[in-house]
């Protein structure tokens, strides 16, 4: 079941095509990574989902319904460019923003106090926003985004400006929201957090989807078939090199061990068979497959497309 489906979205600004037939299928209860280099069209897409702007063509469905004003209360959005009214008091402002998301004043106040206590910022309730540190302001923005318990949360670069401690706090909260059943769309350049949090991703480049799917599938797709072996003592490398199913890429002697980097050339051979073959040549003390990081995949895909 998709909570959000965007079909063939096109958005044009004057002479610039921001989105060119982009599709998005976000499964309910998943964390969805929306990736792409700067200017790829991520923010344009997010604004369309938030109904800040309308697409020139294409349709967006929310829980199977065509996106409309009623859905605003079911979405929480933390934009990349975010801020608060500087001269307004923290509490007042948080209540105001919560009311705009459809909460009643009393309800908003009670929930806010809970969250403020949890995030250790309750003493700042009556202070003006300009007196707060950037980190505290970010906490308030985060609270206001999730306060109305939206079904879909959209975080655009949520970790920028957070120190590692607060970034961790945020990650924990995001995961706990997921456990409570919320769906999260997550746009970032921070590939580590993508690997940590995301179930599915879409990579947008130059206004188009270039890669979509489950994170594990994509990683599989970008499998390098390269394995690292460590042997005790010396290994007869020449012997191994005679196999045509795999190839030695690297061969190093380190502190009485031999490290081999081997590329599997024949897809029909399983890792077990590979290990079996190599075991004949020495005593293996460690083995691992080189899995590409999201960072590598990102760069690879973008650069490849750029060359094309």
């Amino acid at each position: 079941m998709y909570i959000l489906e965007a079909n063939n979205i096109v958005k044009k600004y004057a002479n610039h095509l921001a989105l060119n037939g982009v599709n998005l299928n976000v499964e309910k209860g998943s964390v969805y990574g929306l990736l792409g280099p700067n200017g790829a069209g991520k923010t344009s897409l997010i604004r369309i989902i938030n109904q800040i702007t309308a697409p020139d063509s294409g349709t967006v469905f929310f829980n199977g319904q065509k996106l409309n004003q009623k859905h605003i209360h079911k979405i929480g959005y933390l934009p990349e460019e975010r801020g608060l009214y500087k001269k307004m008091k923290v509490g007042e402002q948080a209540i105001y923003l919560a009311q705009l998301k459809g909460l009643k004043e009393a309800e908003a106040k009670q929930k806010l106090k809970e969250w403020f206590t949890k995030f250790d910022i309750l003493p700042w309730w009556d202070k003006k926003v300009e007196e707060l540190s950037k980190g505290m302001q970010q906490k308030i923005q985060f609270i206001v985004t999730i306060l109305h318990k939206p079904e879909l949360l959209i975080f655009d670069e949520p970790f920028s400006g957070f120190d590692p401690i607060n970034a961790n706090l945020l990650k924990t909260e995001i995961l706990s929201l997921k456990e409570q059943g919320a769906t999260i769309i997550f746009s970032t350049h921070n590939m580590e957090s993508v690997e940590e949090l995301c179930d599915n991703i879409t990579l947008i480049n130059k206004s188009k989807n270039v890669l979509s799917g489950k994170l594990s599938d994509i990683k599989g797709q970008f499998k390098t078939n390269i394995y690292n072996f460590t042997f005790t003592g010396n290994v007869n490398v020449l012997d191994i090199a005679q196999h045509h199913q795999f190839k030695i890429l690297d061969n190093k002697q380190v502190a009485n061990t031999t490290k081999l980097r081997v590329e599997l050339l024949d897809n029909n051979i399983t890792t077990n068979q590979l290990i079996g073959e190599l075991m004949k040549n020495g005593n293996i003390i460690s083995f691992n497959e080189e899995i590409p990081s999201m960072n590598d995949i990102f760069i690879k895909v973008i650069e490849k497309k750029d060359v094309e």
């Binding site: 702007t53 009214y85 500087k86 105001y96």
Partner: protein, 465 residues
């Protein structure tokens, strides 16, 4: 709809709670009250000059008559005894500052032609039909002072009020207000009309006030939009409400701040003037006490004379305050409200569009120019409109919506034909609907646009998004 109310509430409350709002609410009424009190105070100071006034009284009503307690007669009795409580009274009695001479009704023109050689300061002409025309004429070689005008009109009004009461047999007070047609006699004996000072002051004041209100609150809208943009809160807000709702909420909220300020000004000014009035003048009970005292101590006629003198001084002051009551305040105030709201709505949306198009207040200049030019033009025009409130210039500028709030307000204290007022109002409404639509398009695009040097060509593109 619910959200637009939330926005209005926030815009209103954050501004009303500001110190600057409080300061403005206090300083404004003090200035306005001073404008009314100072002339009164000056009237009290200026007690030495004696005006010789020639009266051409066609009605014969205001020259010497005898009054007694029981009946009114036109027979002049001599050597009347004080205890009979009868005395001579003139409906236009001399006072310390005003000496009246009643001159032959046949020679009005002659007096005007020879005004130079005669030793009069003012010639007053009371026509036969005063009850219906409710107007008198005044001639002088100089501007006639407000105090003089008010002294004379006040006496005449009181007399006419009594006359009407008698005629209709009603016992509730009838208020009569007469108009003064003042004429300046130049050296060659030629006449030129001069407009009443009160009307002129009011005209200039309303024009300036409208300009001031539109500009002040219009630029508050602009600053509010820029604040939302630079603080980067805008994207959070527009993910909850539509940009048009946000813009209108802001515009309406600030309009209400303006109206609150205006209301406070009216109420506080009225309060200040009332306080000043009562401290300048003895209260009624004091007057009564004084009267009782003087009747007891002195013999009748002397006491009466004293009383009359006292009353005259008080009236001089009171007259100055009559500026307030003589004007059709209901018309002026309701027109002010209309033109403030109309003019403000027209300009505020444009100010909002400018705020949305720029990244900081420093960049607003190029877009502000076309908005401020008509406003400033209107402001500059007030001076010449006051001189000629029915001219072509006055007409066109009070019809064209971009200047009409200022110019029509400046024209209104003089009489303006109804159709012109309605036309001007109608056009203003149509125009602000159009400018709001136009501004909303720019606003919608501009609020999410950062770091782009925007020019008119760019704005034109936004209109077509």
């Amino acid at each position: 709809m619910n959200k637009i109310i939330l926005i209005i509430k926030r815009e209103y409350l954050t501004r009303v709670k500001q110190k600057s709002f409080l300061i403005m609410s206090i300083v404004g009424p003090i200035l306005m009250a001073a404008l009314m009190i100072v002339p009164a105070w000056l009237a009290k100071m200026d007690t030495d000059k004696v005006y010789n006034i020639a009266v051409v009284d066609q009605t014969k009503r205001f020259s010497d008559t005898i009054v007694d307690t029981g009946y009114i007669t036109n027979i002049r009795l001599k050597n009347q005894k004080p205890d009979e409580k009868k005395m001579f009274i003139r409906r236009l009695p001399d006072s310390k500052n005003y000496k009246f001479s009643f001159v032959d009704t046949l020679y009005k023109t002659k007096y005007i032609n020879k005004f130079d050689s005669l030793n009069y300061d003012v010639l007053v002409f009371i026509p036969n039909n005063i009850l219906s025309s409710q107007a008198i004429e005044m001639y002088s070689d100089k501007e006639i002072t407000l105090a003089t005008k008010l002294y004379i009109t006040n006496k005449i009004e009181k007399e006419l009020e009594k006359e009407k009461l008698k005629a209709y047999g009603i016992d509730k007070p009838i208020s009569v207000s007469i108009k003064v047609l003042s004429n300046i006699i130049d050296e060659d004996g030629k006449l030129s009309e001069s407009n009443s000072e009160i009307t002129m002051v009011l005209s200039i004041l309303s024009g300036i006030l409208i300009y001031f209100f539109i500009f002040m609150y219009g630029s508050q809208v602009m600053r509010g939009v820029i604040e939302e943009k630079t603080s980067r809160i805008i994207e959070v807000i527009v993910s909850s409400v539509r940009p048009f709702e946000l813009m209108m909420g802001k515009i309406i909220g600030i309009a209400m701040v303006g109206l609150t300020q205006f209301l406070l000004w009216i109420v506080l000014t009225f309060a200040l003037v009332t306080v000043a009035q009562s401290s300048f003048m003895p209260s009624n009970s004091q007057i009564v006490a004084q009267q009782l005292k003087s009747t007891n101590i002195m013999d009748g006629s002397q006491a009466e004379q004293e009383k009359i003198d006292d009353e005259q001084i008080n009236e001089d002051i009171n007259n100055a305050f009559k500026i307030v009551s003589n004007i059709n305040w209901l018309l002026i105030l309701s027109a002010f409200l209309f033109y403030f709201i109309g003019g403000y709505l027209l300009y505020a949306s444009l100010f909002a569009a400018v705020g949305a198009a720029v990244d900081s207040e420093a960049d607003t200049q190029q877009f502000m120019l076309p908005i401020t030019i008509p406003l400033i033009l209107g402001m500059v025009m007030i001076q010449s409109i006051v001189q000629n409130p029915d001219g072509d210039l006055a007409f066109w500028f009070s019809i064209i919506p971009f200047t009409s709030p200022i110019i029509m307000m400046a024209r209104l204290p003089f009489s303006v034909p109804d159709w012109q007022v309605y036309l001007s109002m109608g056009l203003l409404i149509v125009t602000f609907i159009l400018t709001t639509k136009f501004a909303a398009k720019i606003y919608r695009v501009g609020i999410l646009m950062y770091g782009k040097k925007v020019n008119y060509k760019e704005l034109w593109k936004w209109l077509k998004y």
